[in-house]
Point group: D2
Chain length 313, copies 4
């Protein structure tokens, strides 16, 4: 599928288990087949996108496609368990599935404890864990890995109203989207979120040149950077250095002045601390920038396009 | 100084440079004398505190004591520079001082770039970088190190309205407070915040037993855990594991159910990524807990004491 | 090229700069074109190799193909410099090339300092930095990345007389070899070794099943494991856990008894601490194992084949 | 105890369990009392030692004091287990004790598996895990922590024939020695070595000035550096940077030429990957240095003093 810059694209995505975990007894290690996990929808080629350009993807709508979603522990995956990399002598933790009820109208999902009567409604905050373009250097990488091309960053910032900016590595950019989450905590500590199939609408656009070192995001209120690496402090360094670079560029500050300003105003939530690379997020309030706009106001333009789409739909 | 549990303590603290950096030419490496950095006020002994108990410290008031504050880069300190530990062949970054104007009435501090005309007012958000009790095992540790006893966690969560809980290691607990910041970004990326002398009021109280593995915090809206370690993912693990433990205990969930709930609802901002240990913070909204209160409602009681103090002052 | 198990394969490999750095003024960042770095020779398919099998590759001969070799610093690459991942505000270190004279007959290479008259002869110890099979999960990964499939482990243990064992991921295994080093320190701290084109002879063979989690090596004197990951302690954990597993299996020890024995007898040198994954190596003296042989004596058989090849050549 | 530079000091040290683990049923967590672990003998003050000076400690003799030694797993301690820092949801591994027979005359210790009939004699290679001076900045640190002052580096390089160099932080230097090991693998992966009380003889001497950033060692064949930090790559960076500094100084190379030479000739074994800081070791063969001697030949002089002591004893 090839689209022109400025096109609205409606797509649907399966959940990270390819829809195979549907009940409490569907243990992922039994019903899923490695490596067919974390499927993505795409690629969507964008006409005219060339290496070095920047692809803008604005999230207009992300709606759970079913009235249920699932989460699970998975052997040797997660932040508080031995893994194939943080290799230890412990037996794996118990593999356990949770099924959530999704009520899109009420805007909630319901958590039910497995080993007690506890249950609670949590607000929906739909997002995509995996969004990215084709990687550089002819690499083909499992969608679970977040890196410079995007991928499975698993940050809750990738929600409706956010514009994501990716450096283009191949002609057409080749956008893919997957791994919808009805909601997610920062870090995704157990390894999975409230995993949901999604119906999603994005607007894609193209900025010539300007490729950022790692994906950048923009919401109505924040400029947001990402860094994906191990150890986690390197992910932090990457995200903060790009915050310094971005702020310095927009405000015409030298690197040390920008470093200082970011030090006093930057936010630094975890994205994921479970995937093959960890992701840290850096955020600066747009109020710092006065009228100066990133990418010549791309975010506002795409947000307007999205708003109009939702109005007339 | 020894106080009874329940006592309101008013104290003043010097800034992390011991007040010696007062102008643009006061380079910290020249005017400060190692190891006389990051001075703390204290210790305050709390009557009856014994090892294994929990000291509660509620921050009633934190007010900058001067109409200026400072920040600086410091050779081989900070997250985006070679340090003595992340040892490299690079020459140190430039050492540069910024002086901020503080306007307590307006609630702002003013940043002035050093190498351009840029200037901006930032909201005051006063907090203490360093709060802690005497360490365990007869150790004497520089106040710059955050660890199980507290210390220089450098998280902006330690602001007015927050109650901090520390496991007691020695009779009297021996509370110390310092390193006031007029405001700070998450991670404190350049190594220093808007460093300010402070006039601070706390209420201290005692909970018998219940010592947490690392300091916990509580605000009106959040239960908050901390982990201080290197690498940063270990700090994340510590903070999230204690979030799982705390939530599981309050909600009577088994560990995996609590792990799942935290995965979907926890927040995970960086504290500092510059000190001798890094600090990660875990947060859960108190709305998750219904009427269940941590520490039998200690936070609310201390907040009420603080409010009354401010009312009659 | 497809070969039968048991085949001797003679091949030649270019250096990591694809032969483009030939003199002191050939700065890699100018004469090399990303991503065309670290070329490998192959793939060689091995008849009958199936996923889950183990490919054995014995190094019979590794001889520098030219009378010179090169090394260089490269911007943002190496262990004692800021990189794209350990992202900092420093300017890159100077890019500098060193040309070594290679004297195969004398078994030495000559280092010449660039900024003084110092020069010294170092013993040749030829090896391959990059050896591996096709990765799992249909991934295509730059040869610079070491991982479960092998790749750019950059350990000096991969020298003549060593047998390497790789888990097979695709039919035919698809062996590739490159990145010859006339010699290398442990860790490859500046990012490059004494980079040399090589004429290399290997014997390849096949073991049904038994795929190790990461490449294993065997010399006449040691059983050797590898782990490639970040941070470096995870690479250490992986290599040591596999040492525990291997020793436990050969000696019929339970996991804790094997853990104990490895703790007192294992060696743990760094492979590389510069690549996209770091590599740690674990070693156990074969004297610990009495007559028990790994893989039914595969190493000894291949070594005999190699010796015979060299005798009659 | 205060001694003159040049003095031979004979001392005895208890094992890391303070001698309380004597049989298979003496579980450390039951018979030892935190924090009274890893006792050290000392401090020995050296006349004239001032901050900034370098203390030289040559190991003349290290002999196990008993005909047995012990090792053990310990809950939440070791490299292949969850710990208080690498915090996870797993239950602790089994706590298990191994008792080794020590035969000083034969030069061996005997390992006996606990869960099978396997037994093997291992060569004695006596060393001290913990050697250091008083820390800087008035800190008091548990002896288990290795850092700039030395401490529990747990490297097998600290054996007879080695000279250790420590930067002096307080008048008299205040040397302490403990944690004898009958032998140890690199990394000390299970957390304990073959723990033995020792009778040890050292010669101490003083070098005015020249304090290294972290302890340096010297054997007859190698110059050796150490770095103690987390994550492990930072320990590697520290040890390798000091190797570059030391080699550059002795050979009068600029930093990049020294970096290059170390890259091709340095060794990098793990010290420990279990303690509160990890330790990496860097080694350069003294053959690289021609006649140039570190510290004006201090090692050779102390080795001669030690040899004479052993001859006449």
């Amino acid at each position: 599928m090839t689209v022109q810059p400025g096109t609205i694209v409606a797509l649907s995505t399966e959940d990270c288990f390819a829809g195979k975990v549907r009940g409490l007894n569907d243990l992922p290690s039994q019903v899923c087949t490695f490596p067919f996990l974390n499927p993505v929808t795409g690629p969507v080629a964008v006409e005219g996108a060339q290496p070095g350009d920047t692809l803008a993807v604005h999230f207009v709508d992300i709606v759970p496609a079913r009235d249920w979603a699932v989460s699970a522990t998975f052997p040797q995956f997660g932040a508080l368990t031995t893994t194939t990399h943080t290799a230890m002598l412990h037996e794996p933790l118990e593999e356990r599935v949770w099924v959530y009820d999704i009520d899109v109208t009420a805007g909630v999902c319901r958590f039910r404890a497995r080993n007690s009567e506890f249950t609670i409604e949590l607000p929906l905050d739909p997002m995509h864990g995996t969004v990215g373009v084709a990687p550089a250097a002819n690499e083909v990488i499992m969608s679970i890995t977040p890196s410079a091309h995007g991928g499975n960053m698993d940050t809750p910032e990738l929600r409706v109203g956010t514009t994501a900016y990716f450096g283009v590595n191949v002609p057409g950019a080749m956008l893919s989207i997957g791994d919808g989450h009805a909601r997610q905590g920062e870090g995704e500590v157990c390894g999975t979120a409230v995993e949901a199939a999604m119906n999603t609408v994005v607007v894609v656009d193209l900025i010539k040149g300007c490729a950022p070192p790692s994906p950048r995001l923009e919401s109505d209120d924040f400029l947001i950077t990402t860094g994906s690496a191990r150890p986690l402090e390197d992910a932090y360094r990457m995200s903060q250095l790009d915050l310094v670079t971005w702020a310095g560029s927009l405000l015409e500050l030298d690197r040390l002045d920008a470093y200082q300003l970011v030090s006093q105003t930057g936010l630094a939530p975890a994205g994921n601390v479970v995937d093959t690379n960890y992701t840290m997020v850096g955020k600066l309030a747009k109020s710092l920038f006065g009228g100066r706009q990133a990418y010549d106001g791309m975010h506002d333009r795409l947000a307007a396009v999205g708003a109009e789409y939702l109005r007339v739909r």
